[in-house]
Amino acid sequence: MLPLYYEFQNSTKILSGKNALENITYELKGLGASKPILLSDKVLEKIGSLQKVIDAMVSTGMEPGVIFTDIPADSSVTVVNQIGEKYKEGGCDSIVAVGGGSVIDTAKGVEMLISQDVEDLMELQGCESMGRGKHVPFIAVPTTSGTGSEMTLVAVIKNIEKSVKMEFISNYLLPDAAVLDPRMTETLPPKTTASTGFDALCHAIEAFSCNQKNPLSDAYATAAIKLVVENLEDAVKDGKNRKARLAMANASTMAGAAFSNSMVGMVHAIGHALGGVCKVPHGDAMTILLPYCMLYNYKKKGDIYGELLLYLEGPEVYAGTPSEKRGEEAIKSVRRLERRLHKMSGLPMTLKEAHVDKKDFDAVARTALNDGAMLVNPAAVDYEDVIMILNQAYE
């Protein structure tokens, strides 16, 4: 059914598959750029992933003007400002970000700083409040298959001095191109592969069920779910399986496009709070919370997950399941996948396994309620509901 009104934007060009990295130069030239700043982190520099991008760019005739790899696990405004200065000093004209969510979010921060020409990023905080500004060519090369940040209009950047997490939501944050090359994710360890893959699944399921959903986001979400179900376990079993790696990179990108337009709900709201208060890695929090939150929404809103059984279990199981049971079966299917990944990679299934202390539940619940994702969750959630879910997920 069509919503009364919806908006959908996905302007990012996707370069997916063999030798995708070698086309970065062509894309940059097409965007009018000749001297990009290359952003990444120390780990990717050490394991050689960054070098693969440099090799691909230099061999095709584009040398980065500046290379910056001092990006921490949580992107911060200090780092964004530091990079902004390097960008100007080096006479750069574009951005190439190689990394996971924090590197790409940092790159979005730099892009905002340059294109909006502001002194303090704090001025730009908010949702859909900024204009396009000056165009800064921006290419994202994701090195995990989970965040989908290369396709989203959201950036979260910490202001350590003021102890605040600044959230920016704008269509003008979308990169010009996302490069999905299987060489970029083949070094991910099995547990990280499982955790980030589950994050992608969570993006797709929440995108499919949240209030901002629309026919286009549904198409991306269901395609992403199918790819995750068919390839995540293969990628966890054998990290060198390029077919599975590329499929997972595509799943993450599609799920990113879906939730960028339909948003995520309570799983992410509580997950963000667990990350902030108890330092639970994002993918682990998503894995633990997803089935419990699905069950909560299912009980409050009825069969909003039934159709997903088709993508989670295939046409035979879908057709053989009575329509009123499909939603419940979809939740069970997610739980089964979680258990298999737990056996294969040690992915935590409870908050206890993730070393969460029950005394932090109050702070987690209060933080979660102030997360913007709560606004689009299909069912209303209050303090007691969050505490109930945390208790259910504890052991």
Partner: protein, 166 residues
Amino acid sequence: MQVSSKQRWMAGGKILFEKVILFFLYRGMKVLYKYDTRIHQEISGWPIGRTLVLAACEKGPKLCIRRVSWGIVRVSDIEDPDIMISFKSIDGAFLVFSGQIGTSQAYSQHRFMVKGDIAAVMSAVRCIDLTEAYLFPKIMTKRILRKVPKKQISSILVYCHAILGV
């Protein structure tokens, strides 16, 4: 180029209606700060001096609120508010103020833009939702709110206090 007179009259009517709703929204929130523990708790959590603007559109009617030690006060204008919730059009605002859709649906439908800290916006949205639960009839709130909150004071009393300004 000029807009048709029909469009001009309709826009005028909507602006007038939105002004009335913003009046009751502010007065309602002010009353409920005293009588509803949830709104009292929300507003008490705002730092003194926080400013909030709820605008029906860029140049349309707006509600400018400042947090003070005894609750909230309405001021004529705030140039650079801490939080700004601004509808993209008078018509989008009308959908919310006339109870056709709720704030959650309006957000889902990209009807407004937000400037400032999203966590602070969430608190303001919860206050608006709670106030709407008192100001609008149940048949409407059941449709626009994801969960209809329990009233801690009757709606008639809220309206009486709001109209009398006490």
